[in-house]
């Protein structure tokens, strides 16, 4: 991990800092930024390229903590004791002012400001003596200065994605990290290396990385950068740095102990949030099931239609006078079957992946809530200890002060990200369902023209209404 360069860091409030990688150089002075989150300038983040001072400002990895430069003390937000900034803590650099939040959202809505483009493709199977696995090619194109070059191509396997997710969660326990596709599909006989499964996974992984890239904070995460750019051996060695297994385990034990205490008083807005998450999770799961079921029923419908149509052709062989009509109907049925398949593929492109992603998101959200609660529980337990004078009150008071800050930061981070997430969810759901409706409209629009052709061949035997009118004319 490279040392932080002194140049490029101006001592201004909320200044972003640069985390250097090996061999990375600081191309230009960092700009003054009122928005530490993402390090981007509040007004026009993408205008000055490269956004040198903006990488990974708000991510604090264990490794970084060790390398903190003295200059950090100039930064307002880094006035806290670094020892508290372990994996479990969150950088207090999330914006709290309304203005900064608006700007944050704005940053996302302007696609032309995007400076990081990622694609995931070319799944390849690798066979070793121990195992078989799939790697995906990841191509990154960027104009950001902190990246060594403007284009990167690496190969990653699912495990690597899992690692990345874990790191992001560690660094930002109360941010809403995008979900990863499941490890494997439990129900149904889906082989791990079945083509559809791989393709679905590939698309989900693509989405995962792009969501991170679009996230104002996560996009500057150092591990993210490593993930996108490092060669295989570099990644392995990078992975090995990091909290050891033991400390991670200790962390987990502490977290479990805290969660068992329960949350004494969850602030009102988080109660609401929790309620929303619970209901949302239930509903989105149902919608996922419903959508999958519709897909299945449509497949079976299309299959039956494939058998239904040809019977009419067969029949037309023995009916001279009905040949045209029968053939017309057979062709309608055939087109209907094809149109159904198109509708199904529309479903599986647009609706199903989105709904499923939000199912995973809802699980994510519950985890985020838990972590927030844990942070608060930590504070609560210290406060309780103070009340009962269990330990040295001065030390406790100091610890409580830090924890209070930590809780405040965590809460603010979550609140802001929550708004962002709600907004995105609304858009995604809206567009997925609108697309589905459009697919259906297009499906139904095909037939009137086809049907009319059949009717044109009626040759004067037209009798509207058919059967129902017979026998009722009295």
């Amino acid at each position: 991990m490279g040392k932080l360069g002194g140049e490029g860091l101006a001592a201004a409030a909320g200044r972003a800092r640069t985390l250097g990688m090996e061999g990375e150089r600081l191309a230009s002075p960092a700009r003054s930024s009122g928005l530490p989150a993402g390090g981007a300038g509040g007004e026009s983040p993408g205008v000055d390229a490269p956004l040198l001072g903006s990488s990974g400002s708000s991510t604090l990895l264990q490794a970084e903590v060790l390398d903190l430069d003295e200059d950090e003390d100039d930064l307002e937000v880094f006035s806290k004791d670094a020892s508290l900034m372990d994996m479990n803590s969150f950088s207090p650099m999330m914006p709290t002012s309304p203005l900064s939040m608006i700007n944050q959202i704005k940053f996302e809505d302007e696609p032309d400001l995007k400076d990081l483009f990622i694609t995931v493709d070319e799944p390849e199977s690798h066979v070793t003596t121990i195992e078989t696995f799939i790697t995906y090619r990841i191509i990154t194109k960027t104009s950001r200065g902190e990246f060594d070059s403007s284009e990167f191509e690496v190969r990653r396997r699912y495990q690597d994605f899992l690692w990345l997710k874990g790191k992001l969660e560690e660094a930002h326990p109360t941010l809403i990290i995008p979900p990863l596709p499941e490890k494997f599909i439990v129900k149904g006989m889906v082989e791990r290396f079945n083509d559809d499964f791989i393709e679905t996974r590939r698309k989900a992984l693509h989405k995962f990385l792009n969501r991170i890239a679009d996230h104002p904070t996560l996009t500057f995460n150092e591990d993210f950068k490593v993930f996108l750019t490092a060669q295989a051996w570099e990644l392995s060695s990078h992975k090995k740095q990091g909290p050891g297994l033991l400390s991670r385990m200790g962390q987990t034990v502490r977290a479990v102990a805290l969660s068992m205490r329960g949350v004494k008083s969850r602030p009102e807005e988080f109660m609401e949030m929790n309620n929303f998450i619970e209901v949302f999770s239930q509903k989105i799961n149902l919608i996922d099931k419903i959508s999958q079921r519709i897909y299945k029923e449509e497949r079976e419908y299309s299959d039956e239609m494939k058998e239904y149509g040809p019977i009419h052709i067969l029949w037309s062989a023995s009916e001279e006078d009905l040949v045209d009509t029968l053939k017309g109907i057979a062709s309608c049925i055939d087109k209907c079957s094809k149109a159904t398949e198109k509708r199904m593929s529309g479903l599986s492109e647009a609706l199903l992946p989105v709904v499923h992603e939000y199912v995973l998101y809802s699980e994510m959200l519950m985890g985020v809530m838990k972590r927030r609660d844990q942070i608060q529980a930590e504070l609560d337990s210290k406060v309780e200890a103070l009340t009962y004078k269990k330990a040295d009150t001065d030390l406790l008071t100091e610890e409580i002060g830090k924890l209070e800050d930590k809780v405040e930061c965590a809460n603010n981070a979550l609140k802001a990200d929550w708004e962002r997430w709600r907004h995105n969810m609304q858009n995604d759901i809206k567009s997925a369902f609108t697309d589905m409706a459009e697919e259906n409209i297009q499906y139904y629009e095909q037939f009137p023209t086809l049907g009319v052709n059949v009717c044109r061949k009626r040759q004067g035997f037209w009798h509207a209404g058919g059967r129902k009118e017979q026998g009722k004319l009295l």
């Binding site: 029923e297 419908y301 039956e304 067969l314 009905l322 409706a437 409209i441 049907g451 009626r458």
Partner: protein
């Protein structure tokens, strides 16, 4: 209302009232009559049938009278059956109205209740007395080609309703048939509630029915059936097979389509519950959910209409059996003829042998002659005489059988041509109305999804 093209018009004169149990000769005479003169109301084409009208001979006059027949109600009843056990059955109300030409108004003339088994009795009677006619079929006895939503229970109201329509259709078909409409038993079926069963049975038609075994035997052994009937038999087999297959798959398609629509209904419920926690999206979700409910419930009407279409196809599925019945009758008559001819030929041969004294064929007489000695010339003369009488008789019989057979073929073929026209017309209409149903389903679909899309885009 379009009239059918003129070549389907049939014209005839009213026949004298036929006795209840008509003999075959009487029947053939009636059938063989040529039409003369013209009438303004002419039955026998699809349009009459479509209008629910039939033409019937009335009891006391020779004028053709236009009547309307409807099976207007169905009622569950309990009673005691032949073995004195309690049973439940459905009775159907048949109403007959006569239409006055002058003012077009109709007057209810008869109304009575009949159950399905009586319809069956009527049809069996018609089959025996009009073997050259393609007798219209009854609606199915038990529900077949059922998909999961339909009930296979005969007492199910939907089944009863469809059967009611099918029975009405049957009566209309008979009433609009140029020959069947004049049958007295049919007339009594519509007008005489009590005692009708006894009246039918008194005709002794069950005795006149050809045995199944005899018919089967004839089918296998007939040597020279009219080719057209053989082709017709193949056609009816194909028709039956293709329509059965079509109905089976259609039932499965209906099942799937039902599934697709109904699952969408779940969206409605879930959207509604979800909208409770959403501020901006709530309204859009809620109203979109409503449209999903509309979509899901629209399939019920669509499939009900399709069931009527299926019934129309089923009628022709059962008509295939009626066609085969006519073919069987022909084969029976032809076989009979062939046997008679064969018998005559052998008798002639015998006679010749006796006359000339040569024995070329094996006969019991020949054996006994060998064993017990030659017969006397007087005995031989006697035998020749007997044989000659038999041969004469045989020749007469053969002639009349031949005539019968030819008449049968002529009349049967005339009815088959009529049937073909009717079938082509009806099936084409049914198929087109099916296409129309699909179009209307699509239009509904477009509407619902356009509304839903609007709601979604406002979320």
């Amino acid at each position: 209302m379009e009239q059918a093209p003129p070549d389907l018009e049939r014209q005839w004169q009213p026949a004298p009232l036929e006795p209840l149990g008509h003999t075959d000769a009487g029947l053939l005479a009636a059938v063989g009559e040529e039409a003369e003169g013209s009438r303004d109301e002419v039955p026998g084409d699809g349009t009459e049938h479509a209008l629910g009208l039939g033409v019937l001979m009335t009891e006391n006059n020779f004028g053709l009278k236009k009547i309307e027949i409807s099976v207007s109600e169905a009622e569950k009843r309990t009673g005691r059956n032949a073995m004195n056990m309690q049973e439940t059955y459905t009775a159907y109300l048949i109403e007959t109205r006569s239409v006055e030409h002058t003012d077009g108004q109709s007057v209810l003339t008869d109304s009575l209740w009949r159950r399905y088994s009586e319809f069956e009795l009527l049809r069996n009677y018609l089959l025996v007395y009009y073997p050259h006619i393609v007798v219209p079929p009854l609606p199915e006895k038990r529900a077949e080609f059922v998909w999961h939503k339909l009930s296979a229970d005969n007492m199910d109201p939907d089944f009863v309703e469809r059967r009611r329509i099918g029975l009405e259709n049957f009566l209309l078909r008979v009433a609009s048939h140029p020959i069947l409409c004049r049958d007295k038993i049919f007339y009594l079926f519509l007008t005489q509630e009590g005692n009708w069963k006894e009246t039918v049975n008194e005709t002794g038609f069950q005795l006149k029915a050809d045995s199944r075994l005899k018919a089967l035997n004839a089918t296998f052994r007939v040597k020279n059936p009219d080719k057209r009937f053989t082709e017709l038999k193949h056609y009816s087999d194909e028709l039956q097979s293709v329509i059965s297959h079509l109905l089976r798959v259609r039932a499965r398609v209906a099942d799937r389509l039902y599934g697709v629509y109904k699952v969408h209904g779940n969206y409605g419920r879930v959207f509604s519950e979800w909208s409770a926690i959403e501020k901006e999206m709530g309204d859009g979700l809620q109203s979109a959910g409503h449209h999903m409910d509309v979509y899901a419930s629209s399939i019920d009407d669509i499939l009900e209409d399709e069931e009527h279409y299926a019934d129309q196809l089923k009628e022709y599925l059962f008509y295939a059996e009626a066609l085969r019945a006519v073919c069987r009758k022909h084969e029976l008559m032809q076989y009979d003829l062939e046997m008679a001819a064969q018998d005559l030929a052998s008798k002639k041969q015998q006679c010749e042998e006796l006359a000339t004294g040569t024995v070329r064929t094996f006969s019991l007489k020949g054996m006994t002659t060998k064993l017990f000695g030659q017969e006397t010339p007087e005995q031989r003369e006697a035998r020749i005489k007997v044989l000659e009488e038999q041969i004469n008789e045989g020749e007469q019989q053969l002639k009349s059988k031949n005539l019968e057979g030819r008449e049968f073929v002529k009349n049967a073929w005339a009815d088959i041509e009529r049937f073909k026209e009717q079938k082509n017309h009806d099936l084409k209409e049914a198929l087109i109305s099916y296409a129309v149903m699909q179009i209307s389903m699509c239009k509904k679909g477009i509407q619902v999804w356009t509304n839903a899309k609007e709601c979604f885009s406002k979320m």
